[in-house]
Symmetry: C2
Subunit: 433 residues, 2 copies
């Protein structure tokens, strides 16, 4: 199939169908889980989740895909390859939502995969290797205290022991919820899949970078590493009127100085380093008592582990220096240390080439948030594509992405899938037989 033909088709599609198709598909799928606050609440294995997966199954069947669920409830729809049936290009994202979330987070990536595959099949027939769309059962961790249950099972990495004894807020066990939705644990004798040659995820940015930079699309180079700390300061609670400043061990004054210096240090370092002090708890927290105790958190992220290590050193140095200065004791606990996860270079390059060829106004960027791609990338070549989030709002009913941008994402996916699944050889990717 010649490139000229493909490009012509894309033009036709752009002008006619794609935007409406996407909007309609998202609207249809958003019936399942509408909550009273105008958002989507569709939690792993609940009735809305079951209904959404059933709806998607039907849509996949209508698109002529071979459809099946795996044991735990990941839904797959595949267009079988004509030549290399042991090679699969996997595309998709997660079907679950946070509580009172938006209609783009997760499900946009599934719909994009489905529409792209349907489009390619319709216009170009069967691919040379399998294209498989996956609706991943869980990513948000919003019902049970566990994340990436879906992606882990896509890869055959189980996680059974870790969910055996966890319950949701109302006391329903993970196992009971899963069985109630008609699923159960994978047969552990099933060997992990070896056919996945690439995983592509299309997702809303959940940040404001693309919008601020006036770009339609982001090609993610990597997902940032992340460290989280809790800082406990112990000074001395005193009467706010009777304790001269020089006799105080004021935990709030010390905390303010630390927070101010740490965030300033982060700003001085520059993008893409981000640092957040999101939680502060003061004791006793009353107007007329010099506070004896403060606890606050630090969350710092960067795509380069070395930078995170340097920032950690800076944090330690600032805290120890200020603590001495204000005569307070401190305890600094690093309770999360996640490595950065780079996306696959060759895949990223293919997407970039397609963007240039199709005149997409893209930028390369990092993802500051976790995604299924973060788990997948550690096992198979993975790429992650962002479309803009209006004002960066996410995990909210106010989440919004313009139709044009949604379409631009799917077009880019189509162009990329064409390269990956319709050609015998793909530069940089081990796909040929």
């Amino acid at each position: 199939m010649a490139d000229g033909g493909y490009e012509k088709e894309v033009q036709v599609m752009k002008s006619k169908l794609l935007k409406q198709d996407i909007m309609k598909a998202i609207h249809d799928l958003s019936q399942f889980g509408q909550d009273e606050c105008g958002g989507l609440t569709r939690l792993l294995y609940d009735e809305h989740w079951v209904a959404a997966q059933r709806h998607l199954k039907m849509s996949m069947e209508e698109a002529g895909l071979n459809v099946h669920f795996d044991a735990v409830g990941n839904l797959y729809g595949s267009a079988k390859g004509s030549r290399y049936q042991d090679q699969t290009i996997l595309i998709g994202s997660h079907i679950d939502t946070v509580k009172n979330g938006g209609i783009y987070d997760g499900q946009y990536g599934i719909i994009a995969g489905l529409l792209a595959t349907a489009h390619l099949k319709k216009h170009f027939g069967d691919p040379v290797r399998n294209i498989e769309v996956v609706s991943i059962c869980e990513e948000e961790g919003s019902r049970f205290p566990y994340v990436f249950w879906g992606a882990k099972n896509v890869l055959g990495l189980g996680g059974k022991e870790e969910v055996l004894n966890i319950d949701d807020e109302s006391g329903i066990s993970f196992v009971k919820a899963m069985q109630g939705a008609g699923f159960d644990f994978c047969d552990e004798k099933t060997p992990p899949r070896t056919d996945i040659k690439a995983f592509l995820e299309l997702h809303v940015e959940q940040g404001c970078v693309l919008e601020k930079q006036k770009k339609s699309l982001g090609i993610v180079e990597g997902i940032v590493g992340q460290r989280r700390f809790t800082v406990e300061l112990t000074g001395e609670s005193n009467h706010a009127g009777t304790t001269p400043m020089s006799y105080r061990k004021d935990a709030v004054h010390a905390a303010a100085e630390m927070i101010s210096k740490i965030l300033q240090r982060c700003r001085e370092h520059g993008d893409p380093l981000v640092t957040t002090v999101g939680r502060i708890d003061v004791k006793p927290n009353v107007v007329n008592v010099v506070p004896g105790q403060v606890e606050f958190t630090i969350d710092t992220r960067h795509p380069d582990r070395k930078v995170l290590e340097d920032m950690t050193k800076d944090i330690r140095e600032i805290i120890s220096t200020v603590a001495v200065c204000f005569d307070v004791d401190y305890c600094l606990d690093m309770w999360m240390d996640e490595n950065p996860v780079p996306m696959d270079n060759a895949l990223t390059k293919i997407i970039e080439t397609e963007c240039i060829r199709n005149g997409v106004d893209y930028m390369k960027m990092y993802s500051g948030a976790g995604h299924d791609a973060q788990l997948m990338a550690q096992h198979v070549p993975t790429a992650l594509i962002f479309v803009p989030s209006h004002r960066g709002i996410s995990h909210s009913p106010h989440e919004h992405t313009d139709g044009e941008d949604l379409a631009m994402g799917v077009e880019t996916l189509i162009a990329t899938l064409y390269e990956l699944a319709y050609k015998d050889e793909v530069k940089g990717i081990q796909v040929t037989a």
Copy 2:
């Protein structure tokens, strides 16, 4: 009566009785209101309060004083003057406690007055003008949302309308509680007292200045003025991973910078200015969200109103400058503005002279906390004497003052009362007929 005789007596007393007398009297009175946490909880008009006042009444009677309650429950025991019965030197403090308070706050001042008066009567006979010991019914405001009910009624200043519709935590009305204890509102036709020529209060410092300065006694020059503010900052809640630093409106970063600068400014100004940020509330207060809202309080105190005005200007300037810098909106609300209250110069001077004469290692200081003396000083010449609080701890079962210091306070009170009530003329005080 010659000074020589008095001094001899004081020496005898010091070596023999006073310390034990005070300790025993405090111990006896502390039976009433012992709580399960090892502290004193004796709230206005409760059963323990009634029992404590009855016990004190008996002690006063045993000391040969003429005893009576006023309508609202202030208890008075007086040694009638032999010459000037229209002139009264009033001494005392409050009988109520905070919840789970210590055994010195308040009641020490009543016992000190009682012991001093009994001592003087025993050794020197009747004073030339009345000495009256008062057990003030309420100062802490720990049962009902109202303070200085006792002192206001000592002065005939009522406050009836303000307590008519207030309840305690369990819904019992102020009026019902008062009537249950056997009291009622004052007859409003009773004219305010004009006989009080001086009010003396002896109290624990509730701060650590005397202990740090290794002084046995503090002569209070004035009670600080006090301003309280609430600062509300509104930035923008954002994803901690996907929002670059330069796109943030981080209310915590702004608050940290403000708090740090305000407290630093206060330290630079020097004693006795104190400033406290006691309460911080962050929203949404989770580790991985850039906080969009912060509310914090500021409490600032100084004996000179001009300094408080200057500090207020500084606070406003810091907040407005930092808010612009961090692109957050702010609202600064000053909801308390209490004037400083100076103690009476002449009385303070008399106490100082007595301290020097008796070799008391005293210092002059300000009170950062409110006391009955704060209300009284606005109407009658008033003096306030502090004894040290171990480690500045107060409003706690761990409140402690050494027996020697307790005795030193009473000795100073005796010496001062002798000057005020046993002599026809007192320098600087309008007491002669």
